[in-house]
Every structure is written in C-alpha cells, then in structure tokens.
C-alpha cells in the first residue's frame, strides 16, 4: 500500500482479479516459509523412530544344539520373547493333519518353517491378541488343548504349528525373519532364505 505502483504495474488496489507483483511475492514467501516449516518437523518426527542402538540389537544368535525334540527355549530378540521349539514327529503329524479350512489364519506348517527343517518352529512369543506372552514353551507349562501354546490373558489357544485355533487372537504367532547360519545356530532377525 505504501509503495507506489510504477506505470507498468497494475495499481495495488486493483480489484479486477489481476495478479499483482506483490501477490506473487506474498505467495512465494509464505510457501517458502511453509515448506521450510514442514521440513523442520522432520527431525522432530524421525527422532522417535528406533535409534541406532535399538536397531543394533536387531539380530540375535541362538544355539539350538541342546534343544531336544519336544522341548523349547525362550530367547529375547529386540526385547521381545521368541519361542524356539523342536517339534516331535507326532506334533508335526498333528499340525499337518489339520485341514487349512479349519484355520482362522490358514498357513501350513511347511510355510511356517524352513525347508528341510520342519521340526524347528520359531515364532514370536507374543500373543497376536493384545501382546501377552503365551504359556507352553517351558517344561510343564499349560499348552492348551491343541498342544501348542495357551495365552492365559484372554484364552487364545495355538496348535503345534503355533497357529490360532480358538480364542480372540486374530493371527497365528508371528514367524520372524531368521536363518540357520550353522547347523545348530539360528540368527533371528536375519533376512535368510
């Protein structure tokens, strides 16, 4: 308003819908500041994602040489429990005998284990309902009617392939990425075949 329009420009008060030079400057300045403001938010947001030290714990090596058939161990990976279970031939047969149509989250045991290692069932020990740790990995714990795992919180029952069979949980126990880095060593968290 205070500036004088040159003869080449339209007057500042022009109401005819014409674009003034000042409009362009305003839009450019506010857009620049707006984009800059948004970019400033980026570090504030990404600082909340897992930090390097948390990601450094992304893999855990597990020695499975001492786990006999029928036994299981509970290990900690990314601060979450992982169940490593050595299935007996009977348990494998039970899992394979279930028709996929009877499952809430249809998956075969073969899809949930590595080729040639159908007896090693490795899953997160985190119930897919609300995140409790199911029972059944330790010696003498309640494995529920399907012989796998039993979550005491809300009664979810998993079978010998750790698939949900009954109760409120929507999904099978999650199978993490893992690979056999040696015949008796499993690296959990490693993207393997």
């Amino acid at each position: 308003m205070a500036t004088k329009a040159t003869s080449a420009e339209v007057s500042d008060e022009a109401g005819g819908g014409e674009v003034r030079r000042r409009d362009f400057l305003n839009i450019a300045a506010v857009s620049f500041a707006g984009v800059g403001g948004l970019v400033t938010l980026a570090p504030l947001i990404i600082q909340m994602s897992p930090s390097a030290d948390v990601l450094a714990q992304a893999t855990t090596e597990v020695d499975i040489s001492k786990v006999q058939p029928g036994q299981g161990i509970k290990v900690s990976w990314r601060k979450q429990p992982v169940f490593v279970r050595n299935l007996t031939p009977k348990e494998i047969a039970e899992a394979n005998a279930v028709p996929l149509s009877a499952l809430r989250d249809p998956e075969t045991l073969a899809q949930r284990t590595k080729p040639g290692k159908p007896n090693w069932l490795i899953t997160l020990g985190v119930c897919t309902h609300l995140g409790c740790v199911p029972l059944g990995i330790g010696e003498g714990e309640n494995r529920g009617p399907y012989g796998g795992y039993f979550c005491p919180c809300h009664g979810s029952m998993y079978d010998t392939a750790a698939r949900i069979r009954q109760g409120p949980a929507p999904k099978n126990l999650f199978v993490p990425d893992y690979e056999f880095t040696a015949p008796t060593t499993v690296t959990i968290g490693a993207k393997g075949k």
């Binding site: 909340m48 994602s49 897992p50 930090s51 948390v54 509970k74 900690s76 990314r78 601060k79 979450q80 429990p81 020990g125 309902h129 609300l130 995140g131 409790c132 740790v133 005491p152 919180c153 809300h154 009664g155 409120p168 929507p170």
Partner: protein, 438 residues
C-alpha cells in the same frame, strides 16, 4: 462478559490504578472469580466438581514436579528409583508418591462426576457447546497423561499396560505396526519408550492447564448453567462469585481433600494393582492384565468384540473404544431437546440413570478377569452404551414431554413463597432440590 449487571472493576488505590493501566491482571481475576462474575444463585453441590478438578490438577502438578526430582527414567533404574529411593529413602517421598498416585484417581473421580453432571443438566446444550468440547479435550489429555504416568514405575502392570495400549495402534491395517514401532521407538516397550513417556507425562499437564483456561474462558461468555436450566433473567437470579462461591468451593474442597487424605494415608494401594510392585519383565505376562480403574469401561468395550466381521475383531474393538469418546463431542447436536435440565425431562432422566448403570457395569466387566458370562455382559453393556447416542437420545428429545419450568431461578429457589427475594445469602434455599414450580 455478557452480563450488564456484573460489577465493573474499580481499582481502589493509586497503585492498583497504575497497575490496571499497564497490566490489568487484577481486573481479569476480578472479572473471572470476583464480583465481576455473577453466578446463578441456585447451584447445587454438583457445580463444585469443576473447581475440585482444578484443585487436583494443581496437586498433581506440584507433587509431580517434586517427584521428578528423584525419579530416574531408565529401564534399569526406574523401578528402584520409585520403590526404593522415593518410597523408602527420600524424606516424605512415600507421602508424595502416594499423594500423586491417588491424586490421579481422585482427579478422575471428580472429572467423571463433573461430566455426568454436564450430561444430566444439559450443560452441553447451546450456547456452551465449546465448553463441553474443550472439557472432552481435557479428558482425552488426562487419559494420555495418566496412561504414561502409570508406565513410569516400570512394574509388571506398567510394562504390560504399555504393551497392550500401544498394541491398539497395531490393529490398524498397513500403518498400524510401523506406527506402533515409531511411538515406542523400538519393537517392544523399553528405554526409548520410557524416556519419551516421562517427557510427555511432564509436558501434558501444562497443556491441560492451558486448555482449562480456554474451558473457563468459554464458560464465562454465556456464564454457568444451573440446575433448573432456566436462563438468568436479571441480577436477582445471581450471586457474585466472590465471596459466595469462593466460600462454597472452599468448603467443598476441604471436604473432598478429607476423603482424599483418608485414602492416601490409610488405603494408598486400594485403587492400584499389586502386580505393579513386581519389576517389569518383558518375557513373562501377568495372568490378568488390567489398566487403572478409570479405564475399565473402555477396556470392556475394547474386549467386547470377539468375532471378525469384515474387519478384524481387534480393530472393531479399538474403533469402538475411540468412538465411545468421540461420540460425546456430538452430544450438543444429537440432543435436540428444547429443555436443558434433566430435572424437567422425565424420560431423559430415566435413561440418564440407565447410562450411569451401564457405565458401571462396563467398568466392572473391564476390571474383572474374562469369563464367558462377563464377556456376554460386557457385549450387552457396550451395545447399550452406543444405543443412547444413535437411537434413544434423538427419540427422547423428540417425544419427552417436559415438566413445567419455573418462571425464573429466583422463583425456583424461593418456591414461589416470596415475591421479593430475601437478601442474598439469607434465602432458605434447599440446595439440589429443585421442585417444579406450579
């Protein structure tokens, strides 16, 4: 303010005049809580819970700030800093900690009564819709603050509460799991989650205080509602806030502090859960995870979905839980009744008490271990919770025949006994009992 009869502020001394010209803070206080704010003369005790809630916010901030001087927000040290250092070693630490623990519960108790008072007396109806909505914002902030505060002692319930509640977010398809990891700063609750919860737990009460100021500001435009729901007509219907309501709020604050002190000293753990005195263990779940009592009704709604229907049952539960609160924001537009106060809405009144009962049942179901009976009860109660908003309330506001309203607030207070009001403060008003004039 919109009251022509509100006493104007007149600075008494030269200093106050000088100050008023430069920083009119005394003027604001006078107009907010002094004779500059005329209040309906017939408020009953349910109108004291707002000030009581403010009192507990102050108690929480004061005890919280001093507790933070001793608390260590580390996954290894948090449990001991609370249960060894603060509870045993710090002078008066046990008292401050118990006061903070139970202060949260009492904050919720008075806020729940405050909310139900607003529903019963139609305090949310136009014009103060924004007062109601800002109040709900405060309530949501309180829930976030209380949840994060409960995580800080890093006991078993703290840890598994954090696991379950952040697990809500993983119910959302696609974005859910990355969102949960982002919120936690890891794959499970750990150091990163604990530190950020502590930071936010310290910040949010001040955000609450700011919204409280907006809440009171918005309230003071139309002025306080009252048990008859009849608008203030003239000065006779009001009393200046000070000294009348400052005195009543003062006495009531004393009374509720007495109850608070009794619980804090003699039953400090009654409202808590014993499992939180076990250090957090990421590899073992407590047999029965429950949130703090003030979340039980919502926890019951969350758990009442057990069958997948298009979406996963878990997602339905989470959506229903959020909706149960978000619906309240629309209450001013769902309820179209021409009459404000529940005292004069016979059908509405019955449904109001059914809603209270329903929320109590949900609370019981949410706090108790799961059983087939309780699941069914919770499902029925959850359905009943949503029914009022969708069906009953619009019908009730259309078909309820209101009782005759009193001519004015003065009329209702004096029960038509005297045409002329007795001097303020000497009326024999029977508080809370508002007989319909007729």
């Amino acid at each position: 303010m919109s009251f022509s009869w509100a006493k104007p502020y007149e600075p008494k001394s030269p200093f106050m005049r000088w100050l008023d010209d430069r920083l009119p803070l005394p003027r604001i206080v006078y107009n907010a809580t002094g004779p500059g704010y005329p209040v309906p003369r017939n408020l009953n005790y349910f109108w004291n819970f707002g000030v009581a809630a403010g009192l507990f916010l102050v108690i929480q901030i004061v005890t919280g700030v001093v507790l933070a001087m001793h608390y260590a927000a580390t996954a290894d040290g948090a449990f001991n800093s609370v249960n060894q250092l603060i509870m045993r070693d710090v002078n008066a630490g046990w008292l401050l900690r118990y006061a903070h623990m139970n202060g949260a519960s009492f904050f919720f108790i008075v806020v729940y009564i405050h909310i139900f008072r607003g529903v019963y007396y139609g305090s949310y109806m136009a014009p103060p819709e924004l007062v109601w909505m800002l109040g709900l914002v405060i309530y949501l902030l309180m829930m976030a603050t209380a949840f994060m505060g409960y995580v800080l002692p890093w006991g078993q319930m703290s840890y598994w509460g954090a696991q379950v509640i952040t697990g809500f977010f993983s119910a959302f398809p696609l974005v859910g799991e990355p969102l949960r990891i982002w919120l936690l700063g890891g794959y499970a609750p750990d150091q990163a989650a604990l530190t950020r919860f502590f930071s936010l737990h310290y910040l949010l009460p001040f955000v609450i205080a700011a919204v409280v100021i907006l809440h009171i500001w918005a309230l003071h435009i139309p002025g306080s509602s009252n048990p008859t729901g009849v608008d203030v007509k003239d000065e006779k219907d009001t009393l200046p806030f000070h000294p009348f309501y400052t005195a009543k709020d003062g006495w009531f604050s004393g009374a509720i502090l007495l109850v608070y002190a009794l619980v804090t000293y003699f039953a400090p753990n009654y409202l808590g859960h014993p499992d939180n005195y076990i250090p957090a263990n990421p590899l073992a779940t407590p047999a029965h995870i429950v949130p703090e009592w003030y979340f039980w009704p919502f926890y019951a709604i969350l758990r009442s979905f057990t069958v997948d229907f298009v979406l996963a049952a878990k997602l339905w539960g989470v959506l229903a839980m959020f909706t149960s609160i978000l619906l309240l924001f629309f209450l001013p537009w769902i309820d179209k009744s021409p009459v404000r106060s529940g005292s004069y809405r016979p059908v509405f009144k019955r449904f109001f008490w059914l809603l209270v009962l329903d929320v109590l049942i949900l609370g019981y179901v949410g706090g108790a271990p799961i059983s087939p009976f309780r699941t069914a009860l919770g499902q029925a109660a959850a359905a009943c919770y949503f029914l009022p908003f969708r069906v009953i309330l619009p019908l009730v506001s259309a078909f309820d025949t209101p009782l005759p309203l009193p001519q004015s607030i003065t009329d209702s207070v004096l029960h038509g006994e005297a045409a002329e009001a007795a001097p303020a403060g000497q009326t024999k008003s029977r508080r809370g009992s508002v007989a319909p004039a007729g």
